[in-house]
């Protein structure tokens, strides 16, 4: 199973493609893509948003949906860290003064 992620152009933050073609910072809102055709179609939507200057660098991320919870969890550590933020350090307890 896959989801589509990208970075938002103006602030660079990580976003996920939702079922209604918008971008959310919450992975739970992302559309779950069951097969290659669905991934390809979603990437087309994402690339249109690249051309529309909303997001940059979209790609598909492989996820699992654990039985216990509903939120998709990326398979690779890199994508899990990218989803939930640095696992340590000064950014953990701090919010951005200029958050949108």
């Amino acid at each position: 199973m896959h989801i589509i992620t990208a970075n938002r152009l103006a602030d660079g933050l990580v976003v996920f493609l939702t079922g209604d073609g918008r971008w959310s910072q919450i992975i739970a809102a992302s559309e779950l893509l069951e097969d290659d055709a669905a991934v390809e179609a979603a990437l087309e939507t994402a690339l249109a948003d690249v051309r529309a200057n909303r997001v940059v660098d979209p790609y598909a991320v492989e996820v699992v949906v654990p039985a216990a919870a509903k939120d998709p969890v990326p398979r690779r550590l890199r994508e899990r860290i990218r989803t939930s933020g640095p696992t340590t350090g000064h950014s953990l307890a701090r919010s951005h003064k200029r958050a949108a």
Binding site: D11, G12, I81, G89, H96
Partner: protein, 552 residues
């Protein structure tokens, strides 16, 4: 300190205006990402794992209090209240918004700072010994030459699109704290037998996936030839460096594939052609730049040795801090203070905005308004009167900046790793934190003595693991983080690349492995005077391998 002249001011202002326009055009959709990406990189803006990252140049690692306060202000206003000092003596902000970058660059320009050439295939920020100008036994302050190189390399039209990035380091001391043999060009300022100033020239050093120790191609280059020779090296590299494969594009590969002797002849031939040109440095111009770096007018202070000894005896924490973080200064009655950015269990190299402000205040009051950033991710107060050491210590203590561990096992270099970096394959910071916590006990750190642990989260080696006495390289294997250990690397004048000791360790085992290595060292050393590197060079890898993996 160097102050911008009219030329510097204009070119930085023009670049801020140009890039602000480019950002506006990108946000409006007039530039595509493909068009914009090389432009943002030329201005230090990366897109990292979670957000944009802005890398700000700190030329040869020297900052004034006013500049440090501006960095604090930027951290507070445009980021999450902290900054990360890097192994290239720069500072990185991890969370700026792209639409804020023009405002940030404008604020930086107010204090004569910028982010130009902190990325891209150009000549990067020139680095220098962080004790430059104050080290007890240097031939000359290397920073005037670094500044001359900065002026020459900034927006140099011929060298803005090199095969790959290009890093120059300068030291004025035989004892190399700037790792010059691991740079594309390393210059060691020295005097010849006639007492004239010049340089030993090294080329082709580097780390990354193909670590190489530089080759010396000149034992003595007269100082007036600095730019002509640099231009000759860059021109030959620009012509012959590989552009077909980015992993083989650095000058170290050209040196390796061509042979240092052949390349040296080509460089010398080019140098002979251009030597007597406008590139020849007028001596009065060198002296004019040098004047910016003249030592401050040190007040004549009582040596304060007796008071210092008494204060050390009365306060064991202060005593430990003096022992590890205070170095000899060339001026009588003065000391060099290292401010460790490695509190136990904290991410190496981070400073909060409040800490940056505190360092600025302390530097203004006690260090003639000067701060250095070291490639070991610490800060330095270069001009502290020995009689003020206790007051400086107390002020640092109040800001959580008095960790007494400079040069000790918890003074670890680590790249941002997979917690921030889009290229990383494993985390670095948590490994540094765990090692730091394991070895927190002060008596044990003092007993272990001088040792450098350096951690990279991928093969690009920003954490300098190849030159760690103990180097750790994080990779991804079967979906998990795996850490390879190298031993015996060194970035000093005895330059060496660490040996891979054997198979890697899982994240839950890496700290135990480091402890095993340290225990073998303590067991086998010939007394406390033999530091880890010396013991490893004498013993070789065998006893460490046996302890880690069992008898072969």
């Amino acid at each position: 300190m160097y102050r911008y002249d009219e030329f510097d001011r204009v070119f930085v202002a023009e670049r801020v205006a140009q890039f602000s326009d480019q950002v506006a055009r990108r946000l409006a959709g007039d530039l595509s990402e493909d068009q914009f990406k090389p432009l943002r990189l030329q201005n230090g803006v990366y897109l990292q794992l979670h957000a944009y990252m802005l890398r700000v140049a700190v030329p040869y690692g020297t900052l004034s209090a006013r500049q440090m306060r501006k960095l604090a202000h930027i951290a507070r206003t445009y980021d999450k209240g902290y900054g990360h000092f890097t192994t290239r003596q720069n500072i990185q902000f991890n969370w700026p918004r792209l639409d804020d970058v023009p405002a940030i660059l404008e604020e930086l320009a107010e204090v004569e700072m910028h982010a130009i050439q902190t990325s891209g295939n150009c000549i990067r920020n020139v680095t220098a010994d962080h004790f430059a100008g104050v080290a007890a036994d240097e031939a000359a302050d290397p920073r005037p030459y670094a500044e001359i190189l900065r002026q020459w390399s900034s927006l140099h039209p011929e060298f803005l699109f090199l095969p790959r990035k290009f890093k120059i380091a300068v030291t004025g001391d035989r004892q190399d704290r700037a790792a010059i043999q691991f740079h594309d060009i390393g210059y060691e300022v020295k005097r010849n037998d006639a007492g004239e100033l010049g340089f030993a020239v090294y080329i082709g050093g580097g780390q990354g996936r193909t670590p190489m120790v530089a080759k010396k191609i000149r034992d003595f280059l007269p100082e007036e030839d600095l730019l002509a020779f640099s231009e000759a090296i860059l021109r030959i590299y620009n012509q012959h460096g590989r552009r077909d494969n980015k992993y083989k594009a650095r000058i170290k590969i050209l040196v390796f594939e061509t042979g240092a002797d052949v390349l040296k002849d080509e460089i010398e031939a080019e140098f002979a052609k251009i030597r007597a040109s406008a590139l020849r440095l007028p001596v009065d111009e060198i002296r004019r730049i040098e004047a910016y770096f003249a030592p401050p007018a040190y007040a004549i202070r009582l040596p304060g040795e007796a008071a210092l000894a008494a204060a050390r005896q009365a306060d064991p924490g202060f005593d430990r801090w003096v022992a590890s973080n205070v170095a000899d200064h060339r001026a009588a009655g003065h000391s060099i203070v290292t401010i460790s950015l490695k509190p136990i269990g904290a991410p190496p190299g981070d400073a909060t905005a409040d800490q940056m402000d505190a360092v600025a205040d302390i530097a203004e009051r006690y260090s003639h308004d000067e701060i250095r950033v070291s490639h070991e991710q610490n800060l330095v107060l270069p001009h502290v009167a020995t009689a003020d050491l206790k007051a400086v210590y107390e002020a640092l203590l109040a800001s959580g900046l008095a960790s007494a561990n400079a040069g000790l096992i918890t003074d670890i270099i680590a790249c941002p790793g997979l917690d921030y970096c889009a290229l990383a394959t494993a985390r670095s910071i948590p490994v540094a934190q765990s090692i730091s916590e394991r070895f927190a006990a002060t008596a044990r750190q003092a007993d272990i003595g001088d040792i450098k642990i350096k951690i990279s989260g991928c093969i690009n080696a920003c954490g300098h693991h190849h030159v760690g006495h103990i180097g750790i390289l994080g990779v991804e294997k079967k979906g998990a983080e795996l850490y390879q250990i190298t031993l015996g690397g060194s970035g000093d004048e005895t330059a060496s690349i660490g040996d891979i000791v054997g198979r890697g360790f899982a994240s839950e085992d890496i700290v135990d492995a480091v402890e095993t290595i340290v225990d073998i060292y303590l067991e086998r050393r010939q007394g406390a005077d033999e530091n880890f590197l010396a013991a490893y060079r004498r013993l070789g890898a065998a006893p460490f391998k046996e302890a880690l993996y069992g008898a072969a």
